[in-house]
């Protein structure tokens, strides 16, 4: 099995990447001239005994290489350390925040990828006609509107002026969260039959998912359009027309498959990027996700959380790239993996 060997090889490559990432974040977070122990102990007037206890607990008095060794040792055992700002293990915090972000991301991408591809095709096929101008306007606004502004405008329009949708957070305050299975509220509430939570969580998802999806849609639309335009003019599309194929077959069977590679690349990167949390969107919609977690951790000098976040992000990025690479070979037979 060539594909299996290829995947294994790529996963082995993950090790040096993670080493590099941890080394970098570890170094940066430990050369910052701040007394972390004092911050966690309560600041200026903290009890010296407490500070000393925290210093010992965090091995802050050991030389750096020893601290790094402790850190790696923990990491190998799946322990990302303790988050002082949350007062619980980093792993637990991520377990809580990641599903929220994942749910938001998946919904945003479900919106952005199909609509982006379809409008991109229409725009390319009907080049310079009114529908093309409209879709290009959508694309350019999606790419250029600042995301925080869009989020605020949506809140003003749909939560304040015409209050049909909730302003922020994942659930209404009067709704019980579904029993924790995956942490994805839609999934969990469906499985447990908690329809009040299902309805509420869908309502709460609409605005933030639209905000995130709209920006991604613009990028995907533009990429699809430009690669379709290039391919529609190629010789084998002319061949396909000369064969007497229906225009639909020409576009969807011959042109689209060839045009999808750049779209796939971009979608993969956006997807992975969003899984790391969309800081602005999550902040404005008060969404308890990875982005907000990371920003809080940075603001509170909570380095073990920052490093935990970085490691998870590195793994997500590498995995997403691997999946995209595998999909390449499905789309394009000229790309053979592992050769």
């Amino acid at each position: 099995m060539k594909l299996r060997d290829y995947i294994i090889r790529r996963l082995i490559l993950l090790i040096p990447i993670l080493l590099g990432v941890t080394l970098l974040t570890f170094t940066v977070s430990h050369i910052i001239p701040a007394d972390v122990a004092r911050v966690f102990a309560g600041g200026e007037k903290a009890n010296p005994e407490t500070i000393a206890r925290i210093r010992a607990e965090m091995h802050l008095d050991d030389p750096l290489y020893k601290q790094y060794y402790y850190y790696l040792n923990d990491l190998i055992h799946g322990n990302l350390g303790k988050s002082y700002s949350e007062n619980r293990p980093v792993v637990d915090a991520i377990k809580q925040y990641f599903p929220a972000t994942a749910e938001l991301t998946v919904l945003a991408m479900l919106l952005a990828i199909p609509i982006g591809i379809i409008t991109g095709i229409i725009s390319a096929v009907r080049r310079n006609q009114w529908i093309d101008h409209v879709t290009r306007l959508i694309a350019i606004t999606g790419v250029s509107i600042p995301i925080f502004w869009l989020a605020l405008m949506l809140q003003i329009a749909f939560a304040y002026k015409y209050p049909i949708l909730p302003l922020d957070s994942r659930l209404g305050i009067d709704v019980m969260a579904p029993k924790h299975i995956t942490g994805l509220y839609i999934f969990d509430s469906l499985v447990t039959g908690n329809f009040a939570a299902l309805k509420s969580s869908i309502y709460h998802l609409i605005l933030p998912a639209f905000t995130l999806g709209y920006a991604s849609l613009g990028i995907i639309l533009r990429i699809t359009r430009s690669s379709m335009l290039e391919i529609v003019r190629s010789d084998y599309i002319r061949t396909a027309r000369a064969k007497g194929l229906k225009e639909r077959t020409v576009i969807y069977k011959h042109a689209l498959r060839n045009a999808l590679i750049p779209t796939l690349t971009v979608s993969g990167l956006i997807f992975a990027g969003l899984l790391g949390g969309a800081v602005l969107t999550e902040t404005i919609f008060n969404w308890p996700g990875m982005g907000r977690f990371a920003v809080n951790a940075v603001n509170n000098l909570d380095f073990s959380s920052v490093m935990g976040f970085t490691v998870i992000m590195a793994i997500i990025m590498v995995t997403a790239n691997l999946i995209v690479d595998i999909l390449y070979s499905v789309l394009d037979p000229r790309i053979r993996l592992g050769e």
Binding site: S234, D235, Y236, R238, T239, A240, R241, A242, K243, G244, L245, K246, T249, H254, R257, N258, L331, D332, P333, R334
Partner: protein, 321 residues
């Protein structure tokens, strides 16, 4: 039934040139300007001329891959302008095209089986084993093998790819094929093989060809009749042999004198044309060839010569005759 497979009458194709802030049409590239041509059934007509003289555009217009702006095209006596949509797609079975560059004219995501099989699944009910059998017959016909069936275009050489393109074009027994410089992207040794393949197929299936080329020796080898194009116009048509023995139009004479002869002792008087090919967006007045013509007369810059019958079935657009 008409004795001609295809008749083109006064066909014009102008491409607009857009310019300015509001992309107004500021002029036209007269790619094909008033060209009439008939091809008899079972014959091969070569269309020769320099790059950019409108040969390829004319070939595509003939198959209605591009809409002509004016003129009439009859395919077996039927007016192509009146055939649209589904009927036109049906007719594409009978008229096919082989493109210049086999590297780009085959969909890179399709296997040979799918490339050649697609016309069948599109127009017929042939499926499964029967389809594979038909495809293998076609592969055999163009000199490819069974093991090539599931390979992709990039796994073949240029000559083999062109063979795939040919197999695809003849899949549904067409009557007329436009060959648009089908060998210019290939090595000389491969060229000869592909040309012979075209001739074999013509004999076998009674095909008619329009053979677009800029290589006069290839035209001589392949064609029964030859048409010479210059800046969007047909300047001379003739049966092949008389044209090579005694070219009438000064442009044809210049073209023929440029054919290299495989004999170092042989001294040929080359007619060197002055100047460059004029732009088809802004062709010269009168005869388009007059600024470069060694035999230009006063009338040439004023009046455009018509295609006149000279001798046995030959047509020439020149004031000399």
């Amino acid at each position: 039934m008409s004795k001609y497979i295809i008749e083109a009458e006064n066909v014009k194709k102008y491409f607009p040139i857009k310019g300015g802030v509001f992309s107004k049409v500021v002029g036209y590239v007269k790619a094909v300007d008033d060209v009439s041509l008939k091809i008899e059934k079972g014959t091969c007509m070569a269309l020769v001329g320099e790059s950019g003289c409108g040969k390829t555009t004319f070939g595509r217009v003939l198959l209605k891959l591009i809409e002509p702006d004016a003129g009439k095209i009859l395919f077996e006596g039927k007016d192509l302008a009146k055939v649209k949509g589904k009927k036109l797609r049906e007719m594409r079975k009978d008229m096919q095209m082989v493109f210049q560059d086999p590297n780009s004219s085959l969909d890179p995501r399709f296997t040979v089986k799918n490339i050649i099989g697609e016309p069948f699944s599109n127009f017929t009910n042939i499926k499964g084993e029967e389809l594979v059998k038909r495809i293998l017959e076609l592969l055999n016909l163009v000199g490819l093998k069974k093991e090539h069936l599931y390979r992709y275009p990039h796994e073949f050489s240029g000559g083999q790819r062109q063979r795939i393109a040919v197999a695809r074009a003849i899949a549904l027994d067409p009557k007329f094929i436009v060959l648009d410089e089908p060998t210019s992207a290939l090595d000389v040794s491969v060229q000869a093989k592909i040309l012979n393949l075209f001739q074999d197929l013509q004999e076998k299936f009674d095909l008619s060809y329009l053979f677009i080329t800029h290589d006069l020796s290839v035209a001589k080898h392949m064609a029964d009749n030859i048409g010479v194009m210059y800046v969007g116009k047909l300047v001379e048509t003739s049966a092949t042999e008389p044209l090579f023995e005694e070219p009438l139009h000064p442009y044809t004479q210049a073209l023929l004198s440029a054919i290299p002869v495989a004999d170092p002792e042989y001294k040929v008087e080359r007619i060197i044309l002055k100047g460059d090919v004029p732009s088809p967006a802004n062709p010269p007045s009168g005869c388009r060839f007059h600024p470069r013509c060694p035999k230009a007369m006063e009338i040439c810059s004023k009046e455009e010569p018509e295609l006149k019958k000279v001798g046995d079935g030959r047509l020439v657009a020149c004031h000399l005759y």
